[in-house]
């Protein structure tokens, strides 16, 4: 056989930690074409369709995550059984005990893989010990299967934060009788592992997803057009407005803030604001589009968040599935707004801080969550007060958008920076070495990345109606126009992906 063929086979079927299967890689689309090809044989019978897609999902998960597939399978089996026990138990106490037990197990697994370093380091710092983390899962697997994965470090299994939250929502919903217990273990595993949303969301609720498992495959022409549009939009966001500006400008500033003047640091922070939105929402656009092509509907996850007029609205428009999850399974159980104003504010703050820590195990995520928590409390207070003082107006709304966007952007510093030291350096350069006079030089030096950034912001702030018109036109267009659009888009994306690296530039000679 041709060595290239081996290479493809290798890429398609063998796990390699440095070659995850990403949507931005052409090989994924070859694979997806094959998946759809086979799907056209299996899609008619729900049971076979679900098992087929589950097998595909497990396979793709293995491709990105190797050994951690076992953890996903364990999670599926455990939560499936737990759901059953909750449903079958007659006594309220038994039900509650099972709910508590299964949530605890889910959180412990998450905590172990996500926060082991955080806790160990904090413990070591406080008690001056030298404890080290050990990856028990890997030890066990090495023992059973004779493999030799590194057990001295805990890597974060991809998607664990997302599928754990999905599992918890299922357990609680079964208990609250919002969703019927899933009878078939394959169906339940499919709910946790369905590949489009597995790695980075949206966080799908059992109550909206499980019923789809029993519905017949259906995809209207308009939905097809919408799916293709979403996938193209997602790819553009990811490759141009996230990866391109990251590699050519933002990453370098964040990894070495003191090599850049304050103005460059500020530009990088705003750039990151665009990058994270384009990256994250682009990813979910693709996920929603892929799922739709297979006949499944995932919830909308981003709704023009930077146009939000206040922080409360921001969280209704940013990573919506997470906000709703936090509301339903954390904020409301904490008491929500039912126990007085002070408790409400406290609950809000707690929710946001824990929500911050969910993004990663580091003090800076806690600070990020706290900024948003405090911001939300202030927002709530101001909302009540402002109604009495100033009548709502367009100017006030615009001011709200500007203020919210800037606050969110400021908070991203803590989200993105590589450590407390880098945060300090960044703020120091901004406050001490701003060097406004070199702004023009910066623009001439970084013309392309900065132009792309500006374009990104322009697209982002274009009126919703206009964007909808473009989407509508695409959906209505005949298939051959869609095809040509796809081809042209890919060619343009290749220009961005293959462009030379921005040379390093020094200002202020």
């Amino acid at each position: 056989m041709n060595p290239d063929i081996y290479d493809i086979i290798d890429q398609l079927f063998v796990y390699s930690s440095d070659k995850p299967l990403l949507y931005t890689r052409p090989v994924f689309w070859l694979l997806f074409a094959a998946i759809m090809g086979l799907y056209s044989i299996f899609y008619k019978k729900n049971r076979i369709r679900n098992i087929y897609l589950l097998a595909i999902s497990f396979f793709l998960y293995y491709k990105t995550n190797g050994a951690f597939l076992f953890l996903l399978i364990f999670s599926s089996v455990f939560n499936y059984l737990a759901g059953y026990r909750i449903e079958e138990s007659k006594r309220a106490v038994t039900k509650k005990t099972w709910v508590a037990f299964s949530i605890a197990i889910n959180l412990l697994i998450l905590a172990y893989f996500k926060y082991a370093y955080f806790f160990t380091e904090s413990f070591n710092r406080i008690f001056n010990t030298h404890l080290e983390v050990v990856n028990w899962l890997i030890l066990w697997e090495n023992h059973i299967f004779g493999t030799s994965f590194d057990a001295m470090q805990i890597l974060l299994p991809v998607g664990i934060s997302f599928y754990t939250f999905q599992a918890i929502s299922y357990i609680v919903d079964v208990y609250r009788q919002r969703v019927e217990v899933v009878k078939n273990i394959f169906d339940f595993s499919f709910y946790l592992a369905f590949f489009p949303q597995l790695v980075a969301g949206p966080i799908v609720r059992a109550s909206t997803f499980i019923p789809q498992l029993y519905q017949k495959y259906r995809l209207t022409k308009a939905e097809f057009g919408h799916a293709v549009f979403l996938i193209l939009k997602g790819l553009i966001k990811k490759i141009v407005f996230a990866d391109f500006i990251a590699v050519n400008f933002i990453d370098r500033v964040f990894s070495s803030p003191t090599s850049y003047s304050g103005i460059e640091n500020v530009l990088a922070v705003y750039g990151y604001s665009l990058q994270i939105y384009a990256d994250f929402s682009g990813y979910t656009d693709i996920a929603i589009g892929l799922a739709l092509l297979m006949g499944f509907k995932l919830p909308v996850n981003f709704n023009e968040p930077y146009k939000a007029i206040n922080l409360t609205n921001f969280w209704r428009q940013w990573h919506i599935s997470l906000s709703l999850w936090l509301r339903d399974y954390l904020y409301i159980p904490l008491g929500g707004n039912r126990k007085g104003k002070i408790r409400m504010h406290l609950n809000l703050l707690t929710t946001m801080i824990l929500g911050g820590l969910w993004h990663g195990a580091h003090l800076r995520f806690l600070i990020w969550g706290a900024i948003h928590g405090v911001g939300l409390v202030v927002d709530k207070l101001w909302n009540r007060l402002s109604k009495k003082i100033v009548p709502p107006s367009k100017i006030l709304k615009s001011l709200g958008v500007i203020l919210t966007f800037n606050l969110v952007t400021f908070a991203w510093i803590f989200f993105r920076a590589e450590g407390q030291n880098a945060i300090n350096q960044m703020l120091f350069q901004i406050s001490h070495h701003f060097e406004f006079s070199i702004l023009l030089n910066v623009f001439t030096g970084y013309t392309i990345p900065l132009t792309v950034m500006i374009l990104g912001f322009i697209f982002m702030f274009l009126p919703f109606g206009l964007k909808e018109k473009v989407r509508g036109a695409f959906i209505k267009s005949p298939a051959w126009i869609k095809l040509i659009t796809v081809v042209i888009t890919v060619l343009i994306l290749y220009q961005a992906a293959s462009s030379g690296l921005q040379a390093f530039i020094y200002f202020r000679f």
Binding site: D4, D7, Q11, D18, K19, L22, T24, R25, P26, V27, L30, F32, A33, M36, G37, S40, Y43, E132, Q153, Y217, L219, T220, K221, E223, F224, V228, V247, N248, D251, S255, S256, T258, S259, Y260, S261, L293, M294, G295, N421, Q425, H433, E435, K482, L483, V486, V487, V490, L491, Y494, Q495, A497, S498, S499, G500, L501, Q502, F504, Y506, R508, F509
Partner: protein, 496 residues
Amino acid sequence: MSMRPFKTFLFILAALCLLAVFPLIAPDGKLKIYNIEFRIYKLDFLIKQTSTYLPEQDIKKDITPDKNVKPFLSETAETKKTEDTQEASQTGIIHVADSPPPEFTGLNNSDILIPASSEYNWRELSEKFLNAGLSTRPLRILYYGDSQIENDRVTSGFRKVLQEYFGGAGRGLVPVESIYNTANNFIMSTSDNWQTTSLIRTKQAHLDLGLLCESFHFNHPASIPETKTNAWIKIKSIKPDINSGYSIVSLFYRAEDSSTVSVSVDGNLKVTKELAAGAGINELRFNLGETPKSVKMEFLTLSGITIYGLNLESPTGIMVDNIALRGRAYPEFSRIDTTRLKQMADYLEPSFIVLQYGVNVVPNITNDYSYYKRHLNHELSFLKKILPRTPVLLVSVSDMARKVGGELKSYPNITKIINAQKEVAMENGCAFWNLFETMGGKGSMISWVERQPPLGNKDYVHYTPLGAEKVGNTFAQQFIKAIELNQATASLPYEP
């Protein structure tokens, strides 16, 4: 109207087939439409892995730093070190020669090359370093480089290992004000009436600078002739560690007349001193006894003061000065006033000089690097006139990559530049260390960037602080090895 999965399959297939046509009609990777050139992928791009780079050479696994990076000295050596230091404080002697030789951590170890012509100087250097405790002033390594060493990168790891091994604390020479080369463990703030002259901001020659290649002055404004005006500098430690654990602050200055400096430590005024007026550089030393949380120096003058650098050091041990000149291809000592350099060198008596340049030469690809050799030669012979007996070492350019047709590749001209650097080093009796080899050779920067945590920045040129720390550590180990090796051969007859 509904769509069956088969139609979706056909749609994706059609798109992929159409996309496969382009590389066939443009096999050279370029397609011109209305004067705009589009890059076209090769057919195998659709199937081949291109986003993640496959290193041409497998880098040793133990480069991965994370928590596997053990402190340079083993625990026993560390304990021994503490005892040694305690003893040293009583006798003033540090017996470092008894310490076990350093372990080598990661990286391909490329030895320091020492030309035969400078073996004598190296033997002298060995003697000095192995008796570092006997010296009345710390032994000084001037480490010059380009943006690759900005922010104390590389030098920080280099200094840390050497100071742990030979003793000493403190960051060494620092500029009064620096926009890009901010220190990591202390914050410097100044009044806003200082003016900076820097080698990298002017093309002029005969510059009034010292060894730091920067000077800072403030002038008494002519409009108010009668009263003295003041300017200040404040250093605040934020992260007490070995790099900031200085107890001596010294000041290199030139004052015209009737000027004073008042030093406050942690907010309390300690001393006020006259600055000796004169045409040459003077040094004023303040022994603070311990590392201060903050030091403030306030200057009062009738005419003007020029500062050639502050020096934060310990009474003995090793000092490594980071002197980063961004955008330079070679150190341009010859543009500095010779007398000034000599005056400052007389005070500091540098024992060793490191020059690390080259990343600014790489982007201009040519076949002939004789122009570069000429410049380097010129600077090295100039340096030799000022510090004739101080051994100099050239660090080769590091690996760096660019994107060609969407694929990351090392620059093709790096080996040529390294050869030029090596030849110049050997011709001038300078030692040479091949950093490119140490990193793993061709393509190594790409894997350094992709490593978790990353060792290289996304510009594929500069190191991350972690990568720089690695390089600094390894270099220091090589340096110590060379020092000990030269001591071992010290019994051979000298050939001065």
